[in-house]
């Protein structure tokens, strides 16, 4: 067998086009960030002014200075970290378990049209139901510990992932599938090398929503009954009419959610391969 040489320029790979540093009509990135921070300060200043001028009652709207003071206190005393850690663990567990069940369920029903048709109305009903209402039941079943929060998170995450994977499995490219079959893949090899990788790209596209759902599950669960977590912190503050602490809790939650979302973006960048998007 002779070696086949070719004169085709194989280096003609399209390199990803760099995004232009500056979009037409927009200020540079640095300026934009500065403006965004300025906007945040402006919002706080407006809040502060409205409360100080007694346009808004301080009893209901709090004092932004005291809110920030509260956050600093939490951080300095380290009190907030116990709660953050609890909420984080609940979120991560709800997220991972929800994804595992969602992938398993999606692949199963995606590959078995009969079961899918049979379960169809029930899946629709469960999905349409505001599953947060299951929270009190889970607390009765699983107690005030983290289990009830994780279970609530799982029920929320499951459907997001399930529907994506279900769709992903059903929409596997028939050509890729036929090709793998012609290359000799048996059923389990098809599942492992075609269906699941194809479904995974759909899972990735739902990661942001899933982590958000797991977070909602954790916080709502804590709010309904717990002894630890950010939701608990807010609940405590609310029951003592400490509106500043409530706002402080909400701010901590927001920052935490942003951090979660950013870490998902980072994980996504590492994991998503073979997709131009």
């Amino acid at each position: 067998m002779s070696e086949i040489s070719t004169s085709l320029p194989t280096s003609a790979v399209a390199t990803p086009r760099r995004r232009p540093v500056k979009k037409a009509g927009l200020p540079s990135r640095g300026t934009m960030v500065a403006l965004q921070i300025a906007l945040l300060f402006a919002a706080f200043a407006t809040w502060f002014a409205l409360v100080k001028l007694k346009i808004l009652p301080v009893f209901f709207f709090g004092d932004p200075v005291l809110v920030l003071q509260q956050i600093v206190d939490w951080v300095v005393t380290g009190e907030v970290f116990v709660h953050l850690a609890t909420t984080l663990i609940e979120t991560i567990l709800g997220f991972l378990i929800g994804i595992a069940f969602g992938v398993a369920g999606g692949v199963w029903l995606g590959l078995s049209p009969l079961t899918a048709a049979l379960l169809d109305p029930y899946i629709k009903a469960f999905n349409a139901m505001p599953r947060v209402v299951l929270g009190p039941i889970f607390i009765v079943w699983f107690g005030l510990g983290i289990t009830s929060k994780v279970v609530l998170g799982v029920t929320l995450v499951f459907f997001v992932v399930f529907f994506n994977v279900f769709q992903g499995v059903r929409e596997v490219s028939p050509v890729v599938l036929a090709n793998a079959r012609m290359l000799g893949a048996n059923r389990s090899q098809l599942l492992r090398t075609v269906y699941i990788p194809s479904a995974m790209s759909w899972v990735f596209s739902s990661l942001h929503m899933s982590v958000g759902m797991a977070f909602v599950g954790a916080v709502i669960g804590e709010y309904l009954g717990s002894s630890r977590g950010i939701g608990y912190l807010i609940l405590q503050a609310e029951s003592t009419f400490d509106v500043n602490a409530v706002f402080a809790g909400i701010l901590v939650l927001t920052v935490f959610a942003l951090l979660l979302d950013t870490s998902v973006t980072l994980v996504e960048r590492r994991l998503i391969v073979g997709r131009p998007t």
Partner: protein, 284 residues
Amino acid sequence: MIASLKRADNLATMAPAARKAEAALTFDHVTVRFDDYTAVADASITVGDGEFVSIVGPTGCGKSTLLNVAAGLLEPTAGDISVYGKSLEGLNRQAGYLFQADALMPWRTALSNVTAGLEYRRMAPKDAEELGRKWLARVGLNGHHERFPHQLSGGMRKRVALAQTLIMDPKIILMDEPFSALDVQTRVLMENELLALWMADKKSVMFITHDLEEAISLSDRVIILSAGPGTHPIAEFVIDLPRPRDVSEVRMTPRFVELHHHIWETMREEVLKAYERNQHKLAD
């Protein structure tokens, strides 16, 4: 139809009957029906062992259906398909299939796409990788092992697909307009490469195309299909151009022009028929 068959006989002899005994693929009165649409009607085709056969027909005439039947991906409604004399049941394990559309797994690198079939065969990963590298080099893709399909050009993806199919060392290669999406220059290069690979291993090839020039320059034999519905072969021509061929040079030879002219005469009526039918469809 009879007239065109006669013309075919005048021009070139039909495939010798002796080939049938060891034919790689035999379509025996194959009919394929989808609901109330008959895609293929009573088609009988043979592809001899080591023979390069092109199937040419107007667009939308059910060429791919024939190939899917040969691959075992589609069961004929009537008739029989046999592979080396044995009636085909289930997938055709002797055949490799090069699809018209991109069939690479987008989540795998070029190398791991090429070795996918070996993995299915449970070859040791180290051996598979070594063989994969060899094949990527053979199709001119050295140094592109770790690239994903979306990072490769259309031509390079076809090369990966070619390596992916040929690494399995199939006795029969089924090709469905594999180069139709490529630009003319890349296409000629790929065709030459295909011929070189084929000359080296002497596989049996069933090559589907709508491009008559491509069919003549590559094949031992060209089979013309009628316009659909109810596609069936209407004529076949032995291509007696000497080998090895260079696909761009062979097109300049007088014999090529002569063959092209004769085959086109047969094809034209069918192309017109297909065209008229489409016009009707548009009018409806």
